[in-house]
Amino acid sequence: MVGPQYDFLSNPLGAVRSTFDTAIASGTDPSSLEGRDWGALPLFRHFLFEQSRISQVPLLTPTTIRFVRPNTLVRFRGMIQDMPGNEFYVGAYKDGSMWRTNKFMDVLQSPICSSADTRIWERRLLYCVPVPGLSPWTEVSAEEFGNLSMDWMSDSREKRMRDDESSDMPVSCDKVQDSPNTKRMREGEHSSAASHSSGAATDIASSTTSLGSEIVSNSPPCIVKIYDSPESEMKLNDIFEFVGILTSDPELQEDNEDGDLSDGFSEDTLRHFPPNQVPRLHCFIHRKLGIQDFLQNNHTVEPKPDLVKGLREALLRHLTTILGNDDVTSHFMLLHLLSKVHARDNGLAVGKLSLNLTGFKKETVSVFGKQLTLVLKKLLPLTFCIPLTVEYLNTVSLAPKKNYDTNRLETGVLQLAEGSHLIVDETKLEAGTLNSVGVDNCRLLKNLMELQEVEYDFKYYKMDMKTDAQLLVMSEGKSNILPADVIVPFQPSTLSYSEAVTPEVLEAWRWYLATVRQLTHSIEPEMQKVVERDLVAARQADRTLSPQDLSRLVTMGRLMSLSYGESSLSLEHWQMVKELERLRKQRLQ
């Protein structure tokens, strides 16, 4: 192990180089390396995790991007939005008699033209964007960076002049940003294509102009270059935390294609992301993030039944008050919030529980709907709200679409990370004519609801991408555009009023929702027989029950016992589900 001759944080490349030299010195043949790791990664892993220094690595945000110097270690959290493909680069070359490596770097240190001994290696490119719909509470508090960046500032002050030119863009975006909710809507209105082709700068800049209510420091999009990891590990729409070297080389900014072949080969994806707007991150270590990783204090508490039960009761009470004392609805709401696709069988998504609250009028929506939306935003890390209007349906691009001119996958509203929550407000829908886009969008929404799949448009063919989103529909009558799993007529008895909730309680509820959702679940053989018997009886009694209805009942049973933090279905919970279903049926009549 090499001693502290380099600082991992400020000079990660030093570590790369020195390990490379060690490897070469110990007789590793660069040609046999083929881009594989030579010992640098374990070093970083050790540094970050075993010495738990990961919190010292600055997180890339518009605020921090001003302080972060190029070629230092940074963290970035984002969703993989597009995969531009692989890139071949000069991995190792001989400079004189010395082998040097170019891994984790963009530009060659010295011209290679005379060198016969160059090795071409391969790396993957990922275009990552800030996680869409991220609630403000997930952001790491500003002070935390403050302390960190101060140190950085002090020794980088002299270099600030030079750095400014490469990072003067992000400065402008460190402003007020509107809530993800309204931003989402806006993005939809001028079909998010625009926001992408014009790059992050205008996107963020334009969002500052609209009315901002909450301060959200959003991180910029980022091109992450991945080394040493199998392709299957990363999927589209996954959320990752990347730790790597931030590069932004001013030389690359004058990225003019050379004349002779530019006419055809200019479809280089990266051309559309000028490095001064989209930073490059050479990734050492990445780790997949789930919902629970967005909690503030990531305490790994054992979900004890008592604790969970207490939290459940409190949360349910809170939901009930929000929903105007509607007990049935709040029960369903809780189950809905815990649902998650846990298996797929022949295109069927098992475990989803989309909810349709009917009985909303324009007036009630403004009272209850708004409250509910706010509460959900506080509880869940990834939330969206789609106001369904004819105009919206006719104009928005819901599905991501491949643009072959720019060779980019242009994102759509429904490009969602796993575990997102989507509120569809159908009360605003009025009679009108849908154009072809609108019809298509309706179909997409329906598919999302029924199959948890979104069809990505690759122009010459469509590709179904699996998603896992919780859908909540608020409508006046039963929604026909969005056939939800459960339809619950909403019957408030009192007005909704929001209780003051302490941040600690809120935090506990978030923890509850995120953790309980992940629990594994099973069923005892006896219980299985009971459930089967009940299902058969139910179907014998009512022929209109479809297999989907039965499946939903079992899902509810599962979620019910999960909500108590239990890992196997008990008779009591099954009875509760049946009772709940009975009450719901009663309301439907």
Binding site: M83, N86, C113, L236, F265, F458, R539
Partner: protein
């Protein structure tokens, strides 16, 4: 031939040819260098010496990319070292000053140029198709011509400019050559071209045509995703879909300069390293003025170049990934071979090119742009189930391989599956696995997918092989889902909804082209789904006019158009899969199918199978369903037994069977068929009953043949066995018993399908009519008071007329009949004798 090219060969490098001074200058590794090489001397073959010089330069080229490095950084060019093994010997490094005795090696390898040259020569001269090669092996100049000699002759005759060489032939003839070719394509192909030119000039001495070798059909094809740095500079073959084509770029090959002072034109200057060195001094000795040369555009030689982007086909994309793309560089004849959306199979050389930071800067980014220098492009078919009609593959003068679409191992796998004894069950289970039960319906649909044999007699009569199916059922019985599924699976499936389909939309219509004023035929859904399955949802909601168009399609399988100056008959060899709801939204078992679905009997009889999908309460089924659902939720899906084929395998299976299996009736099966048919016909004769009920029509026997053929196909069997026929009968009965059961007698009654009324029903109506007439005669006077229908019904029931169970509706019909006779008049519910 070999004897006269070899000396030439050895001679070349040793001769103090002028061209030897330029090999270094000739080094380039930018795209298209191979072509540049080819075209570098247009009159190369005119004289032996020039031919030699062409050779010399092209021999230099293989060594070029590497020799440049040894020469030192004269040019800021690409590091082309690739991943070749580092040369063990240095003697290849300067191939130019070798003397005659030493063999010439491709730089950095142990490949001897002479050896390769000879090997290629032998291949082109001696290769014969497998069957005849043994016999002719020893004789060089036997009467039979080698395959490629013949092809070369053809190419010369048609003045073509390329020779397609099947890489598999190369492999069969000389595996070593094949390996070298794939490993060092630039070098080997250069020699290939050279040998070819030698042969061409021998066959046609004065030919000035340049013929290029186009290799295709490599033994293994790579997936775009798996291209990695080790593939650089190797020959690869991959499949993909064209997504973008650039415009055609004229690329300069040779430039001609003229002196502005004296008007002297220099000799054509070839492109080197993508650049043309402009002469600074007028080459004419008398002039020699400086900086006077100017480019004469219209005397320069240009070639076509096009850049195409190829994307992975959807089936190669792993879950959660986006498709990869790769650029293709096309030259000359390959330009514009495909358009966006085409699926192609490309053979070419994978190359990498450095990215310069700026046009003026010498520093390069550490990145490479990769692209494929195309040698050959072949259009392939879609991933859907393939169909039997002629394929428009672009295989040039080469032979038209039939089996290429199914790789051998795939076929082997499919055959393996087909051998399983329970294949029929497996396929049934694999079809729409998320739809519960309905196994018999799925079996019928399976038969439809596989289809029977279409037969065309010499007399011109043709029998369709397509099986038409109608699904009638209660709402919510997953009919539409089945339809969607079949649509996804079938070749050229078209999915329409009855409500939205008009007659012309289904068949074809004539339109006037707004620009030219010509009348054009626009195909509708049925024509478009020729050799596919046309799925029509909501068949019952279709307008009668539209439905009537289907008559012709479903039996004659053509669409005839006669209007607006166009009389045409278009093929519409399509299977129709329709589904309909019963007329009252739920199926009324008391009514016949006809009454339930309101379809004209003429059309109905054209369906081979009519399935009634009724939701029957069956506890057994429910229990299985419950078990399945609970298991789905609580068991790990990986642990669950999945004995089903995935959709792509199923598609392959179906398309292979449709394409390659053409079963015939065995004698035994034919006998069984006759026996069975006679049996059903006879079943109509009730013992002791005089009324004759037609139970089956000749149409049914055709259906049966088709079904049994399809069943044989499912087993990949060339013979229709007795069991197939038995199963076909079973399917027909299952379908028919449901759909053609006469509810009053319980027997199969084809009259019900063909006229809408069963024989016994007819008799019953007749007697009711008679009874009503008698009743009215008895009870009412002409011009007397009117009676209500209810009263009449009561009266009828009181009387013992032999008519059991009279319904108001039946009575109403009877009265209506009498009214048409003028016997009574009816106003609402009251009847009056007139």
């Amino acid at each position: 031939m070999a004897s006269d090219s070899s000396p030439n060969f050895n001679h070349g490098p040793s001769s103090p040819d002028d061209s030897l001074s330029s090999p270094i200058g000739n080094t380039f590794s930018s795209p298209g260098s191979r072509r540049r090489r080819r075209s570098s001397t247009p009159s190369a073959s005119a004289t032996p010496s020039e031919r030699r010089s062409r050779f010399a330069s092209s021999e230099a080229t293989p060594t070029a990319p590497r020799s440049r490095q040894s020469v030192g950084g004269r040019v800021p060019a690409t590091p082309t070292s690739t991943t070749d093994d580092v040369p063990a010997s240095s003697d290849g490094g300067d191939g130019y000053d070798m003397d005659d005795a030493r063999p010439t090696f491709v730089w950095g390898t142990s490949i001897s140029v002479e050896d390769v040259n000879d090997a290629i020569h032998r291949f082109l001269r001696d290769f014969r198709e497998a069957s005849s090669s043994q016999a002719d092996d020893n004789g060089l100049h036997l009467h039979t011509e080698g395959k490629y000699e013949k092809l070369i002759r053809q190419v010369i005759e048609v003045e073509g400019d390329s020779l397609d060489v099947n890489a598999r032939d190369v492999f069969d003839h000389d595996p070593d050559l094949y390996t070298k070719m794939v490993r060092y394509p630039l070098e080997v192909l250069a020699i290939f071209d050279l040998v070819l030119m030698n042969m061409v000039s021998r066959l046609k001495p004065m030919s000035e045509k340049h013929i290029q070798t186009r290799i295709f059909n490599l033994k293994s094809s790579t997936s775009m995703r798996n291209l990695n740095p080790s593939d650089i500079e190797r020959m690869v073959s991959l499949k993909g879909m064209i997504i973008r084509c650039s415009s055609i770029i004229p690329e300069i090959r040779e430039a001609i300069f003229r002196c502005l002072v004296c008007g002297f034109c220099c000799d054509p200057i070839p492109v080197e390293r993508g650049r043309i060195t402009e002469p600074t001094i007028c080459l004419r000795e008398e002039c020699q003025s400086r900086n006077s040369m100017t480019l004469v555009h219209n005397r320069c030689r240009f070639t076509d170049k096009q850049i195409v982007r190829l994307q992975e086909t959807p089936d190669e994309i792993p879950e959660g990934g986006t498709p990869h793309t790769v650029s293709l560089l096309l030259h000359d004849k390959l330009v514009d071979i495909g358009k966006p959306g085409d699926r192609v199979e490309v053979t070419g050389i994978y190359r990498a090119m450095t990215v310069r930071v700026g046009p003026t800067q010498r520093t390069v980014k550490s990145l490479f742009k990769t692209y494929i220098d195309c040698l050959h492009i072949k259009k392939t078919h879609k991933s859907r189930m393939q169909v039997e009609d002629a394929m428009d593959i672009d295989s040039g003068p080469g032979r038209n391989e039939d089996g290429v679409f199914f790789e051998e191992e795939k076929v082997a796998r499919l055959k393996e599956i087909s051998k399983r004894p329970d294949i029929y069950e497996i396929l049934t289970k694999s079809l729409a696995p998320n739809i519960w039960e309905l196994d018999d319906v799925k079996k019928g649909l399976l038969c439809q997918l596989f289809g029977g044999n279409a037969l065309k007699l010499a007399s011109g009569a043709s029998f369709r092989g397509d099986i038409n199916i109608l699904l009638v059922g209660d709402p919510g019985t997953s009919k539409s889902q089945l339809l969607q599924y079949i649509h996804k699976l079938s070749p050229r499936g078209i999915y329409t909804s009855g409500r939205g389909s008009s007659a012309v939309g289904l068949t074809a219509y004539v339109a006037k082209d707004p620009e030219t004023g010509e009348t054009v035929l626009e195909s509708g859904a049925l024509v478009l789904s020729d050799r596919g399955i046309c799925c029509i949802d909501e068949f019952d909601k279709m307008s009668d006019n539209a439905r009537s168009m289907l008559h012709e399609v479903m039996e004659q399988q053509t669409v005839s158009i006669a209007k607006a100056g166009i009389i045409a008959s278009l093929n519409a060899r399509t299977s129709v899969l329709a589904c309909a709801n019963p007329s009252g939204s739920r199926y009324n078992p008391r009514l016949s199918v006809i009454d339930n679905i309101h379809l004209p009997p003429t059309l109905l009889s054209r369906f081979d199978l009519i399935y009634l999908i009724l939701d029957k309460a069956d506890e057994q089924t429910d229990r299985r369903l419950a078990k399945h659902i609970v298991a789905l939720h609580f068991e790990n899906p990986e642990n669950m037994e999945h004995d089903v084929l995935d959709i792509s395998t199923l598609t392959d299976y179906v398309s292979y069977a449709r394409k390659h299996i053409h079963p015939q009736l065995s004698d035994e099966a034919a006998e069984e068929l006759t026996r069975g048919y006679v049996e059903i016909r006879r079943r109509g004769n009730f013992p002791g009953s005089s009324k004759k009920v037609i139970t089956a029509t000749p149409r049914q026997i055709e259906s049966l043949i088709r079904l049994s053929e399809a069943l044989a196909r499912i087993r990949f069997s060339e013979w229709v066995e007795k069991d197939d026929v038995a199963e076909a009968f079973r399917l027909l009965e299952v379908a028919m018993q449901q759909s053609a059961t006469d509810h009053s007698t319980g027997t199969i009654d084809m009259d019900l399908i063909t006229t809408g009324v069963s024989a016994s029903e007819r008799i019953r109506r007749e007697s009711l009519l008679q009874a009503t007439r008698n009743l009215i005669m008895e009870k009412m006077q002409i011009g007397g008071p009117s009676m209500r229908l209810i009263e009449l019904l009561e009266e009828l029931k009181k009387q013992d007329t032999g008519v059991s169970e009279v319904h108001l509706n039946d009575l109403r019909n009877a009265i209506a009949n009498l009214a048409t006779e003028g016997f009574v008049t009816m106003h609402g519910d009251s009847v009056k004798r007139s």
